[in-house]
Symmetry: C2
Subunit: 341 residues, 2 copies
C-alpha cells in the first residue's frame, strides 16, 4: 500500500428527482473524508467528468435498462482520474485511469473496473468522447445496425454532438453521402466544413422537412437517431426500402414528463425498415476495438471532434442541463482537476 492522502472529498448527490429540465437545485454537494483503498481497490482524484444525455434517465424513477440513481446517492458517470493510492499491484500512483465512477472529487474503485490510459497517445479528455463511450456508441451503431454502404444516404441527428460527429465521419469513410441535422448555423457550418458531411440541415428551421428532403434527393438508407421529435418525423417519410434506423437516443424528449405518441408503424412493413435499439455496453468488446481503430485517426488529425468544457465539480448539474437543451457544441465535459504534471 502506498501513502494514503487524507482530507475532504466533495460528492455531488441527487437531492430530489427533477421535474422536466434538471436544475442545480436538484443536486447538492456533500463532503466526506477521502477514503482509503483496501486490497484490490484504487483511490483516484478526478480530472475529467463526462456529461452525457443518458444521464437524464438515471434521474427518473422509471423502469429502464439501468437502475436510477437514488435520492442521496452520488450521481453516476464516466470519469478520468489520477491514481493517488492503490491496493492493487496493477495500478500505482500517477497512473491515469478511465472508469464509471461518479460526480466526486475522489473515487474509490475496484481495480478490475478501471482501464489504464496512455496519457501520451491522445488528450486525456478524448477518452471520454471521441475515443470513449460516445465514439464507441457511434462505431457500434454503424457496425452492428446501420452498416452504411458506398453511395447510400446516411442522416445523422445531433450531428455536431459527441456521438453524431463520429457516426457521420464513420459513414463518410464507408463512402456514403452523409447529411447532418444540427441546431443552428454555427454547428451546421462546422459539420459541413470541418467534419466533411455532404450537407447539414438546421433542425430549428420551420422548413425542416423540406430542407431534409432537398438534402436527400435519393431518400435515406440509414438514420442514426439521437434526438427523436420533429427530426424523426421529418426522416420517416424519406426512408428508402430496407433502410436501417439506429435507435441510439431521443434526447429531445428526455425532459418530458409524458412521452408524445410516435409514428404509425405501417411504413416498417411496406418499406421493410429495420429499427433497432443500441446500448453501447451490450457489446463491451467494441470499446477496445474502436480505441485501436480510431486512436491513429485522432493522432493524425483525420477524425475531428470538439468539446465544451465547464470548470468545477459543482458545475456538473448545470452542464447536464445545458447539454439537454443543446447548449453544448461537441462533447460536454467538466474539468474537476488539473492534468497530471
Amino acid at each position: 500500500m502506498t501513502h494514503v492522502p487524507t482530507g475532504i472529498r466533495r460528492n455531488v448527490v441527487l437531492r430530489r428527482r427533477p421535474s422536466g429540465e434538471p436544475s442545480p437545485h436538484d443536486f447538492e454537494v456533500v463532503e466526506d473524508a477521502i477514503p482509503t483503498p483496501g486490497p484490490g481497490e484504487v483511490l483516484t482524484r478526478t480530472i475529467w467528468l463526462s456529461v452525457d444525455p443518458y444521464m437524464r434517465g438515471r434521474l427518473t424513477d422509471r423502469k429502464s435498462y439501468a437502475a436510477p440513481v437514488q435520492i442521496g446517492e452520488v450521481m453516476t458517470g464516466e470519469s478520468i482520474g489520477e491514481v493517488m493510492a492503490s491496493g492493487d499491484p496493477a495500478f500505482k500512483p500517477g497512473d491515469v485511469v478511465l472508469g464509471s465512477r461518479g460526480w466526486q472529487s475522489h473515487s474509490l474503485s475496484q481495480a478490475t473496473a478501471l482501464t489504464k490510459l496512455d496519457p501520451g497517445a491522445a488528450p486525456l479528455s478524448a477518452y471520454l468522447g471521441v475515443l470513449g463511450m460516445p465514439g464507441t456508441t457511434a462505431y457500434s451503431g454503424m457496425k452492428d445496425i446501420g452498416q452504411p454502404k458506398a453511395g447510400e444516404t446516411v442522416v445523422i441527428s445531433a450531428a455536431s454532438g459527441a456521438v453524431g460527429s463520429v457516426a457521420g465521419q464513420i459513414a463518410k469513410r464507408a463512402g456514403a453521402r452523409v447529411v447532418g441535422v444540427a441546431g443552428g448555423p454555427d454547428k451546421c457550418l462546422w459539420v459541413q466544413e470541418t467534419l466533411g458531411f455532404d450537407d447539414c440541415v438546421d433542425h430549428r428551421s420551420p422548413y425542416l422537412a423540406d430542407a431534409l428532403a432537398e438534402a436527400c434527393p435519393n431518400g435515406i438508407d440509414v438514420y442514426f437517431e439521437n434526438v427523436g421529435g420533429a427530426v424523426q418525423e421529418a426522416v420517416i417519410p424519406l426512408l428508402n426500402p430496407f433502410a436501417r434506423v439506429v435507435m441510439c437516443g431521443m434526447v429531445a424528449q428526455y425532459n418530458e414528463r409524458e412521452f408524445p405518441p410516435g409514428p404509425n408503424l405501417g411504413f416498417v412493413v411496406g418499406k421493410r425498415v429495420r429499427i433497432e435499439g443500441l446500448i453501447v455496453s451490450d457489446k463491451p468488446e467494441r470499446f477496445a476495438e474502436w480505441r485501436a481503430l480510431a486512436a491513429p485517426w485522432v493522432a493524425d488529425g483525420s477524425l475531428h471532434y470538439r468539446e465544451t468544457v465547464i470548470d468545477g465539480l459543482e458545475s456538473a448539474p448545470e452542464a447536464l442541463a445545458l447539454l439537454l437543451r443543446g447548449g453544448n457544441f461537441g462533447k460536454m465535459l467538466v474539468r474537476v482537476g488539473a492534468d497530471p504534471a
Copy 2:
C-alpha cells in the same frame, strides 16, 4: 399447341377506389373472350383464388412496395388453376399450377411465372395457405426476424389466420411459449385446443392489456405483428430486452383513410428492441424451402390449418371485405371452379 377452348371469360375489375371498407360496388364483372396462348404462354381455368389482407393496399393509390391496381384493371392475386392449353412444352392440359394471376375465370400466364403442383401431395387449396404465400410469410418472419428460442415467449396476433396460425406452430416447434391473440371465443378455443398454443387472448376484451400481461408472466421476446392497433399497444409495454418484432402487417388499419399515430419509440432504445418489416417476396427462395419442410407436416396432420371458403368468382370482393373485418376463420379462399377430375 393443344386444342384451345373458346367461350366467355369473366374478370373482376376495379371500378373505383374504395373509401374505407371495400364494397362489392367498388368492383364489377367484365366479360371478354377466353384468350389463346401464344408461344411460352399457358391458359388456365381458375379453381381457387386466394384472398389476403395485403390486397387492400393494392386498391389504394398510395406509394407502397407494389403498384396499385388501376381503375378498370383485373384485381390481382394468387390462384390455382388447371391448364387448358399450353404454348410451352413444360405444361400440358390437366396440369395444376400456382401463380400470381388475378380475379378471373381464365388466365393467360407466362409459363415461367407458374409453379406446377402435385395434386396428390396435399389438398390444392393448401398451396394458397399453409403451404403457400401465407405459410411462407410465417416461416420467413420466424426464420429471418423473429428467431424464437426455447423458453422464450412469442405472441402472435391474428393467431387463427392463415399467417398467424403457422407462425405460432413454428414457434411451438422451436420450444417457445406461444400466446395467440384472436377475435372471439371460437377462434381462441381453436388456437389453444387444435393449434396447441399455450394461451390465447381475445382482442375484443376490454381487458386486453391485463389479459395479455397475465398470459405472458415472463414478458414477450418475439411479437409477430399482423394487426396493429390496440393489440400492438398492449404488446409494447410487455416487450423484453432484445425483443424482436416481426412487422408483417397491420390489418386493423387497412381500411382507415388516415393512419393513427403509433408508439413513442423510446422503448426501442432502452430495451434494444429490433423492429423489422417483412415482405415475403423479398426472399423468393423461402417458398420452396417452406413447401419442402411443411408438406410432410401437412401430410401427417401435425401442422394444422383451417379455411373459410366462399363460392363463386363474383363473391371475391365480398370475401375481401369479410377478411378485412375479421369475418374469416383461417385462410380465406374463393372457389371458382371444381378440382380436376
